[in-house]
């Protein structure tokens, strides 16, 4: 299935966030929410550029960076296909994905003089969906 660009993606040119990053964030969000599934094709660069009225190079840049991250893969002559989640990587590498966020939590908790226990308790509800 190929996704309709103008229905799923939106850009806000003056929001301050570069447009290529807005596109990347939205593709990732669509994946997380299940609106986009592994095996789906992303709309072509041209379709996104014309549909959202943005420069095609901006769309290409977003797609290439998503490819580098392993979120999508380039299928010759067809376009960009959404990859299955990369559970094949060692846990150590996958943990690297949350480390920057955890560092922020740690720094902020220190500024607010929270205890370890308070932070663990606050984090708990967000880990519900995980296995032991």
């Amino acid at each position: 299935m190929t996704l309709a660009a103008e229905r799923l993606l939106r850009v806000f040119p003056s929001s301050g966030v570069p447009i290529y990053r807005q596109l990347m964030d939205q593709v990732r969000a669509l994946l997380l929410s299940g609106q986009v599934r592994p095996g789906d094709m992303l709309p072509s660069v041209r379709a996104v550029a014309l549909g959202l009225e943005v420069n095609p190079m901006t769309v290409s840049k977003a797609y290439s960076l998503l490819e580098a991250e392993g979120v999508v893969e380039r299928v010759r002559g067809t376009g960009m296909r959404v990859c299955p989640p990369r559970s094949g990587l060692p846990a150590r590498d996958r943990v690297a994905g949350v480390r920057p966020l955890l560092e922020q939590v740690g720094a902020k908790a220190q500024q607010l003089a929270l205890t370890r226990r308070q932070v663990r308790e606050a984090l708990e509800p967000y880990l519900k969906g995980l296995t032991e």
């Binding site: 301050g16 901006t58 500024q111």
Partner: protein, 295 residues
């Protein structure tokens, strides 16, 4: 054509009107596939630069080339590959729209009749109307149509949307993106509407008082100008002497807001360390960046 030469090359270009300098030592080159937004206040030299590129004005010093040929003596063959929308289009007023299109089309080998028909519909122009009776906005739409219909390799647009309504502007942006989608055209677009530039442009050139203040990729420019917000438990200084790249600073008390150009993470880290402040980096819109660079 020199292989190292880009479709648009400007080297040390200067131009004065009487004793008043309009352009001073401007150097830039535009690569195929790029759309460059040309920004600047009124009188910054945008129109002068575009007219010099077309050979409509003779530079005082330096030179410019389009598609490999000097702007002053462009051959008919190269002129046929350039599209131009002037700020104030002049098209024979006694012709009807359809006649005006046929007349201009006769000069071009690559004239796309199908495209002219599409654009007449998109822009809601009546082919039977006299050109002299068109509104300013309709005349601008016709000028855009005439510039695009030869599918130009180089497209120079001097405030093409100034007279268009929001819908007309959106139509224009879509038509422009359709043209550049093959990645081979070179577009220079002067405008005051920064949100359009953010949408359709890959690069930004900023002129200030005739000098080229910035020529950068859009994301590079926006990555290099940021707003920093400081919060500290101790009073912050009234000014920040000696910190490089600070464009503006509003401080006092326990919080301050400043804009920085250059190596933003390095400045943020330095301020965090030296002022013992919590630093938050905020993205700026292109309009904010433009205004900050003009302080």
């Amino acid at each position: 054509m020199n292989a190292a030469c880009q479709p648009v090359e400007v080297r040390h270009l200067s131009k004065s009107f009487g004793t008043k300098p309009a352009l001073t030592d401007v150097t830039l080159s535009l690569a195929p596939g790029t759309v460059t937004g040309l920004l600047g206040r009124n009188g910054a030299g945008k129109t002068t630069l575009i007219k010099c590129l077309l050979g409509l004005l003779r530079p005082g010093a330096g030179e410019s080339r389009v598609l490999g040929e000097r702007s002053g003596d462009l051959s008919p063959g190269v002129k046929a590959r350039i599209g131009y929308v002037p700020q104030e289009p002049v098209i024979y007023p006694w012709m009807r729209v359809r006649q005006g299109i046929a007349y201009q089309g006769a000069f071009y080998e690559t004239w796309d009749v199908g495209l002219t028909e599409d654009l007449l519909k998109t822009f809601e122009l009546d082919p039977r109307q006299r050109i002299g009776a068109l509104s300013v906005g309709q005349l601008q739409k016709l000028a855009i149509l005439l510039a695009l219909a030869c599918r130009p390799e180089v497209l120079l647009l001097d405030e093409p949307v100034a007279a268009l309504d929001p819908e007309g502007r959106r139509h224009f942006l879509r038509v422009l993106l359709d043209l550049v989608a093959d990645g081979t055209r070179t577009v220079l677009l002067s405008t005051h509407i920064t949100s359009d530039v953010e949408r359709v442009c890959s690069h930004v050139a900023i002129l200030k008082d005739g000098k080229l203040l910035q020529m950068a990729e859009m994301d590079e420019l926006r990555g290099s100008v940021k707003e920093l917000r400081l919060a500290a438990s101790r009073p912050l200084p009234e000014a920040l002497p000696g910190v490089p790249g600070v464009l503006s600073y509003r401080g006092g008390g326990s919080s301050a807001v400043l804009t920085v150009q250059g190596d933003v993470p390095a400045v943020a880290a330095r301020l965090q360390r030296e002022l013992a402040a919590e630093v938050t980096v905020m993205d700026l819109s292109l309009e904010d960046v433009f205004l900050e660079l003009h302080r």
